[in-house]
């Protein structure tokens, strides 16, 4: 029973981290990018590559994963977001991010191979450690560290406050001299780095596999929707709920209906409370 809870929590925290990444992206650009799940995939794959193939210390792997994620985030903004937001057509960014996500997934698949490859051990630890195994507490710890870090970032640092300003009213921020393009780029780079970090931490759970992207995008999004768009605590709660639900459902009903149950949760929440548990009601000026 405890295994079920811990496994669920661990994978749930990966989803929560992805939800946090969504939040960072959304705050400055009001865009929910399809590439979010792929950031984690890239982090995991590059981390595995640097540590296993290039045989370097795991700190380099961590750095590599973060840089790869940041680069991908930068690419997302430059290619998929910047030009598209300039034209006011609402949903083109969905198409452009979907296109970029597919391209990156296929490119990684061609380079890394289509089989899931193992993610190396980061800290020497006995494999029989059971529930205290690092593959469980690494993602949990990482999600909590990220959430705390983001709260600190938003409250105490200047850039954080600028992010909040942009998310409240982009025009007003620009009128006050904030370079919205540069801040948006920064937020994408930051979210990319965070995504890569999350993928790196959860690598031992998911294995380094090129096709993780779409599933993680969807499940991270469900965590976000359940917890509420814009709320970091909500992201953690949503992720935990989704992970635990998945875990319990596969334990009791077998793994065959995993996605169905996850989406069932999404639909229920969206029907009852569309803005999520802790989200703000979306008021739009007409």
């Amino acid at each position: 029973m405890l295994t079920v809870i811990v496994t669920g929590l661990a994978i749930g925290m990966l989803y929560a981290s992805i939800a946090l990444v969504y939040n960072v992206m959304f705050s400055t650009s009001k865009v929910l990018s399809v590439t979010t799940g792929h950031l984690s995939m890239v982090g995991g794959v590059f981390g595995a590559y640097i540590i296993s193939v290039l045989q370097m210390h795991w700190l380099w792997g961590l750095l590599g994963a973060v840089l790869a994620g940041a680069a991908f985030g930068w690419l997302t903004d430059v290619l998929a977001i910047r030009r598209v937001l300039a034209r006011s057509d609402e949903h083109l960014w969905l198409l452009s991010t979907l296109a970029l996500a597919t391209m990156v997934q296929q490119a990684v698949g061609l380079w890394w191979g289509t089989e899931p490859k193992p993610f190396p051990r980061l800290i020497t630890q006995e494999f029989g450690a059971g529930l205290m195994d690092q593959k469980f507490w690494l993602p949990i710890g990482m999600a909590i560290v990220m959430a705390i870090g983001l709260e600190f970032f938003y409250r105490k640092t200047m850039y954080g406050k600028v992010f909040i300003a942009m998310s409240e009213d982009a025009f007003a921020a620009r009128a006050r001299g904030v370079s919205t393009d540069k801040i948006r780029l920064l937020s994408y780079v930051l979210s990319g780095a965070l995504g890569g970090l999350a993928g790196f931490a959860a690598g031992q759970l998911t294995f380094a596999f090129f096709a993780l992207g779409h599933t993680l995008t969807l499940l991270g999004f469900i965590a976000l929707a359940v917890g509420g768009l814009g709320s970091n605590i909500g992201a953690l709660i949503g992720g935990a709920a989704l992970g635990l639900l998945n875990s319990f459902a596969s334990y009791y009903f077998g793994g065959e209906y995993q996605q169905t149950i996850a989406v069932g949760l999404l639909m229920v929440v969206l029907l009852i409370k569309p803005e999520g548990l802790l989200g703000a009601k979306n008021v739009r000026p007409v």
Binding site: T7, T114, S250
Partner: protein, 393 residues
């Protein structure tokens, strides 16, 4: 003027003759279609098989071809997509008008493509294991080269029940086409042998941890675990889970258990102990430590093409690919032509054709050519240079 024109006419006639002659000769290549999933799922098997196929084609072409005609190999990468497999099968059969088709590799692709080839009357060498791919009535020109899935399953079952003397079986398979079909067949064959499985489950092969399933199997009292999945990721996790919960139960099942990739997926090398997989005598080291002669010959021939060092793929894939082309050579030579009906007759009457991978026998009513006698069980961690040792009886 007239002289020049006459000369011109004669010259052009001559050129035309030569050109038509050469093009007629060139048009006489023997076209073999090769439907291979070189990218996508099961690509490692397809890539290894491709090595065997290409070596055989090169060899035959260098020694003059079949009946004086060169072989033209048309490779089509289906990428694991049944729709592509269907499209390429159509293309090979109707557009390229091939004389023979090898493949597809995946069961899902095979199920879609084999009927198309049958409808077009193109002889087809099947290399997918799933039972439904062969039917002497529906697909009269489809002949299977690989063993059947039943052969894998009954070999493993025999070993678990008769040699290891276990009676409480846990069957774990993946949710893919192959997994669901195999789980069904495995349970059916076990029950026929008088053993009812104590636990059986289908798992998504991307599931991150199989500790739950192993715990449940243990709780149900299983004394042997039999996995039926070709997904090395899932098998790695299964063996890891077994090790981590400290349950020393034997694992007997699909050949992928002994694939070289598993070694890297295991948390500890010891986790590969007490694991056995269905394999073949043709890729098993004898008690004298030597491979069967024909296998060794092929290993030596192909080693430079695989990088020159130790072979790190399952060698039977390579051997099987090689054999398919050799079977085509045999069929065309014996029939004396590439007429499809004649080829069908020849193959139906093939008895004990000796290949590297196996010795094949087909009849008018039996399209599965792989002999039971070539089946064996190998311990997983005895992988060396592509082949294995024999499991203790």
């Amino acid at each position: 003027m007239l002289r020049l024109t006459k000369l011109a006419v004669r010259l052009s006639l001559a050129t035309a003759l030569v050109v038509s002659a050469t093009s007629a000769l060139a048009a006489e290549t023997i076209k073999i279609g090769w439907l291979s999933s070189l990218t996508g799922a099961l690509s490692s098997a397809a890539i290894a098989e491709n090595q065997g196929v290409q070596l055989a084609v090169e060899e035959i072409n260098k020694s003059g071809g079949i009946l004086g005609r060169q072989i033209e190999l048309l490779t089509r990468d289906t990428a694991g997509d049944p729709t592509k497999a269907v499209n390429f099968a159509q293309q090979l059969a109707f557009s390229d008008k091939v004389h023979f088709v090898i493949g597809p590799v995946n069961s899902g692709e095979g199920l879609a493509a084999v009927p198309i080839l049958a409808r077009a009357g193109v002889p087809n060498l099947v290399i997918g294991a799933i039972d439904e791919l062969i039917d002497p009535v529906k697909y009269p020109r489809a002949f299977r080269v690989i063993n059947t899935n039943r052969q894998w399953i009954s070999t493993a079952n025999d070993y678990a029940i008769k040699v290891l003397k276990k009676s409480k079986v846990a069957v774990i398979a993946d949710t893919s086409g192959y997994g669901t079909a195999s789980a069904k067949t495995a349970i059916e064959l076990l029950e026929k042998a008088g053993v009812k499985p104590v636990y059986s489950v289908l798992v998504d092969n991307n599931k991150t941890d199989l500790t739950d399933e192993m715990n449940k199997a243990r709780a149900a009292g299983a004394d042997v675990v039999m996995p039926w999945t070709a997904a090395t990721g899932m098998l790695g996790r299964l063996l890891n889970a077994r090790g981590e919960i400290g349950w020393n139960v034997p694992v007997v099942g699909h050949p992928a258990i002994m694939a070289a990739q598993i070694r890297q997926l295991l948390n500890k090398p010891e986790y590969w102990q007490n694991a056995y997989a269905a394999g073949y005598l043709s890729t098993t080291y004898g008690s004298d430590g030597k491979l069967p002669e024909r296998t060794q010959q092929l290993v030596d021939k192909i080693r430079p093409k695989l990088g020159g060092g130790e072979i790190d793929v399952l060698f039977w894939w390579v051997a099987m690919g090689y054999d398919t082309v050799k079977i085509i050579e045999h069929a065309i030579k014996t029939a004396g032509s590439t007429d499809a009906a004649a080829l069908q007759k020849v193959l139906e009457n093939t008895r004990d054709y000796r290949g590297v991978y196996a010795t094949y026998t087909w009849t008018a009513t039996e399209r599965n050519g792989f002999p039971d006698s070539n089946m064996a069980v190998n311990p997983a961690n005895t992988f060396k240079d592509g082949s294995f040792r024999l499991a203790p009886r």
